[in-house]
């Protein structure tokens, strides 16, 4: 199984699951002994989970900017950082424009992966 670090780390620690590798491009400080997939013999493999906030298109820019500022402020708070790190997440704020660019790049990246792997698409 492949799952977020936060959701499976407790089970790894209790011995119900065995960790094999980190899917991202660098080791996690939470499990520094666990190699990345690339280190473990599959070069080029790198994929992370990420989180961000979106709103319906047309949401007033002043509201978008307000929420953006408040999220950045929340992520700067030590207790929030500690909560995220304990769960296996790394806080990462951005501007709305940066996140829009990131969304575009992620959608493009997975488009290539899905096309080249030939797994096809799920229909409705």
């Amino acid at each position: 199984m492949i799952a977020t670090l936060g959701s499976c780390l407790p089970h790894v620690r209790s011995g119900k699951l065995r960790d094999l590798a980190i899917a991202g491009d660098r080791r996690s400080s939470l499990v520094p002994q666990v190699p990345t997939v690339a280190e473990a013999g599959v070069p080029g493999y790198a994929a992370d989970s990420w989180y961000g906030l979106v709103a319906p298109r047309g949401t007033p820019p002043e509201i978008v900017n307000l929420l953006n500022r408040e999220i950045a402020a929340a992520l700067d708070r030590e207790e929030v950082r500690a909560q995220f790190v304990a769960l296996g997440f790394e806080p990462a704020s951005s501007t709305p424009a940066q996140f829009a660019d990131y969304l575009k790049s992620e959608i493009a990246k997975w488009g290539v992966v899905i096309k080249e792997s030939g797994i096809g698409k799920a229909d409705q």
């Binding site: 199984m1 492949i2 799952a3 977020t4 959701s7 780390l9 089970h11 119900k16 065995r18 094999l20 590798a21 980190i22 899917a23 991202g24 190699p35 013999g41 599959v42 493999y45 994929a47 992370d48 989970s49 989180y51 961000g52 906030l53 979106v54 709103a55 319906p56 298109r57 949401t59 007033p60 002043e62 978008v64 307000l66 929420l67 500022r69 408040e70 402020a73 929340a74 708070r77 769960l87 997440f89 790394e90 990462a92 704020s93 709305p96 940066q98 996140f99 990131y102 969304l103 992620e106 959608i107 997975w110 488009g111 992966v113 899905i114 792997s117 797994i119 698409k121 799920a122 409705q124």
Partner: protein, 185 residues
């Protein structure tokens, strides 16, 4: 600091905000949403009510968010699955780029390969060897077609075991076809 939601006499937010989390309660996505929602509540003085809309790799929740009024009172937590689903599903009832306004990135989180301790492997290399030696015999769990954790073994172009189709069988948790039918029929 405040912004107006169309009504200059009512600073935003003047009433509770619906915060769609397109995955079930208690998972990693849910926890990220709850931490951020709580902080927004504390700073902005209105509840940011978590609305868990799991199913179909987050696309059920995204469909609801895409069609909600664009007044600041509906927001959604997007994840890597949002970008994968945009490509994986032949048809979605929304446009992943055009129907949403990006607000902020929040966090990144590594994914971990794990096996049940009864699987006799200690490394990715051993897992690949085992899979190649036993085609179609290994199962893996996923959170739905198009979820990030589904796509990892299935579609990575650099994943040799996939190329040899050794990950043939899987255990799929939510039945996404049924989900769609139940929610939208």
């Amino acid at each position: 600091m405040s912004a107006d939601a169309g009504n200059k006499s009512q600073p935003y937010p003047s009433h509770p905000v619906r915060f769609i989390v397109p995955f079930p309660p208690t998972g990693g996505t849910d926890i990220v949403g709850r931490v951020i929602g709580q902080k927004l509540n504390e700073k902005l003085g209105q509840p940011f009510i978590i609305d868990n809309r799991g199913g179909a790799a987050g696309t059920l929740g995204a469909a609801i968010a895409a069609k909600a009024p664009a007044d600041g009172y509906t927001i959604m937590l997007a994840t890597a699955s949002f970008a994968i689903s945009a490509n994986f599903y032949a048809q979605l009832p929304y446009d992943s780029l055009r129907d949403f306004a990006a607000v902020s990135r929040i966090a990144s989180g590594p994914l971990l390969f794990v096996v049940h301790p009864s699987v006799p492997v200690r490394s990715i290399k051993e897992l690949i060897s085992l899979a190649k030696a036993n085609p179609g015999k290994l199962n893996y769990a996923s959170g739905g077609e198009g979820a990030s954790i589904t796509c990892q073994p299935k579609c990575s172009t650099t994943w040799p075991a996939c190329a040899s189709s050794t990950y043939r069988t899987k255990v799929r948790a939510p039945r996404w076809r049924r989900c769609w039918a139940a929610r939208f029929s």
